[in-house]
């Protein structure tokens, strides 16, 4: 399974719509980095509105995508994390506190624009 990555000007937009199995999560990590490189993207929004569960493995993959993209020079914003998912992550002791977030895709894009264009 592949998660579709859309391009919008300098940005990549990704909406995760499936229950992420490990293989799909790792493939996704690789695809995002490849696509940043190919397109010269400056920012990425990963929308998690449809994601009903984030366990420690998926949290690590997401955190790593953010760090790796930063290394490549692209900023990543995570959006749409469900209340139940946020509560579960905090229960687990996974704060993802260095990861930029926003309420929804639209605000995610605004946040990227602010950060990049100052």
């Amino acid at each position: 399974m592949r998660i579709p990555i859309l391009k919008l000007h300098d940005y990549l937009l990704i909406s995760v719509q499936v229950d992420l199995d490990d293989q799909t999560a790792l493939q996704f990590q690789e695809d995002v980095l490849e696509k940043i490189h190919e397109e010269g993207s400056r920012g990425v929004v990963i929308d998690l509105t449809s994601v009903e569960m984030i366990d420690s493995f998926i949290a690590k993959v997401l955190g790593d995508v953010v760090d790796m993209s930063n290394l490549m020079g692209a900023r990543v914003v995570l959006t749409g994390i469900q209340p139940a998912v946020a509560i579960t992550l905090i229960d687990m002791g996974i704060a993802l506190d260095e990861v930029p977030t926003a309420l929804d895709l639209e605000q995610g894009l605004e946040r990227l624009q602010l950060e990049l264009e100052g």
Partner: protein, 133 residues
């Protein structure tokens, strides 16, 4: 009627199957969306640990009831290497696989009851219960 299901864990797909079965049962028992997410996440952690550290095993999920409450029990069992120091693996951040080391301490906090029964070279059984409020 008491419902019971088990899922064999011997591939990454088993992890997905176990958490889907877990969410379905949690919903049927009447857990709200936050507890459904907690239970599903706990199952995912236990199933992945089985796959990673013991290669194979089983997740059993069942509805439980005592005189005044109902809930859901998860039993994760394997015949893998066992856990040498149970206290150690319950520390946040302890990992032997480059993970976050958030799995087992996380499951303990997500659930209401938690117990590890492990013997070196013979396997591990982890039991966790969430009560309906």
């Amino acid at each position: 009627m008491q419902v019971q299901t088990h899922v064999d864990i011997n591939s990454e797909w088993g992890i997905v199957a176990a958490r889907q079965a877990g969410r379905k049962l949690a919903r049927e028992i009447g857990f709200g969306s936050v507890d459904q997410a907690r239970i599903t996440t706990a199952i995912s952690e236990l199933a992945r640990n089985i796959y990673l550290y013991a290669n194979q095993g089983q997740i059993k999920i069942e509805e439980v009831a005592d005189s005044n409450k109902r809930g859901m029990k998860i039993i994760a069992s394997d015949e893998g290497p066992g856990i040498r120091d149970v206290r150690r693996v319950m520390e946040d951040g302890f990992t032997t696989s480059g993970g976050l080391g958030a799995g087992l301490p996380g499951v303990k906090r997500l659930m209401d009851e938690f117990d590890i029964d492990s013997e070196l070279d013979s396997g591990t059984v982890i039991t966790a219960v969430k009560w309906l409020r």
